[in-house]
């Protein structure tokens, strides 16, 4: 298993993305998956090196042409949604 670098993106990289990062950190911890998670903003996030991106629907278009998987989360407070949408792809990436 390798340690993933996961970027969480919102407009400024300090509000919404911070909330989603906290939710994601909780899910990863429960699953025992080690990862470095960090926030990015609309301007600086493109080109940032990471294994996967979590963001909201309105911002997903920013990463259309990127090589990393983009996981869209609707409810940033829902551990259930993050677990359902993100955990399996992230586990797969970590074991590659």
């Amino acid at each position: 298993m390798r340690k993933l670098r996961i970027m969480v993106v919102c407009g400024f990289g300090l509000g919404s993305s911070m909330v989603l990062k906290l939710t994601l950190d909780g899910v990863l911890k429960e699953a025992g998956l080690a990862a470095e998670t960090f926030c990015g903003d609309e301007a600086t996030s493109r080109g940032e090196k990471c294994d996967a991106i979590l963001t909201s629907g309105p911002l997903a278009h920013l990463f259309q042409n990127g090589s990393q998987p983009v996981i869209v989360i609707d409810n940033f407070l829902s551990k259930d949604e993050v677990r359902q949408k993100a955990l399996e792809p992230l586990q797969r990436l970590a074991s590659e």
Binding site: C10, G11, F12, G13, L14, G15, S16, M18, V19, L20, L22, T23, E42, T55, S56, G57, P58, L59, D74, N75, F76, L77, S78, K79
Partner: protein
């Protein structure tokens, strides 16, 4: 509590004006929050019915702070997943890190389903403050 606003801009302004009145930010910060939604879309609507409005520290934040407004009539922000919004939380951070604890506490409070219901239905700010204090004591 139960503020009547015509649209999402009014909702952000209502929450932002509370920050201005409390001396936590300059009036231009409120306009910056509205501009952020106009420019980047309604990503700030981060959960069903809940918007977290904010802009950058350099847009006029004076002191770290947060305000909560509930709407008498929910408004649409244009968020496919999470409209209509009934709860608007505005915050201002002074840098990229000192507000993390505040958001952490907020997230912990909001993930409790009962607290979301309480916030959306409360008619008196006193009840909300009591619930927030009680939650802090549990931690």
């Amino acid at each position: 509590m139960r503020v009547e606003v015509p649209d999402w801009q009014g909702a952000v302004r209502a929450a932002g004006d509370l920050l201005v009145e409390a001396g936590l930010c300059e009036p231009r910060y409120v306009e910056a929050m509205i501009r952020a939604v106009e420019q980047m879309g309604p990503y700030m609507v981060l959960a069903p019915g809940i918007a977290l409005a904010h802009a950058r520290p350099e847009d006029g934040v004076l002191k770290i702070g947060m305000s909560i407004v509930t709407l008498a009539t929910p408004v649409n922000f244009g968020s496919e997943a999470n409209d209509p919004v009934q709860l608007v939380i505005a915050f201002g951070g002074v840098d990229k890190t000192t507000h993390i604890g505040m958001l952490q506490d907020l997230a912990k409070f909001l993930v409790v389903e009962g607290n979301q219901v309480l916030l959306k239905t409360a008619s008196d700010a006193k009840h909300v403050l009591a619930a927030i204090r009680a939650a802090q004591e549990v931690q």
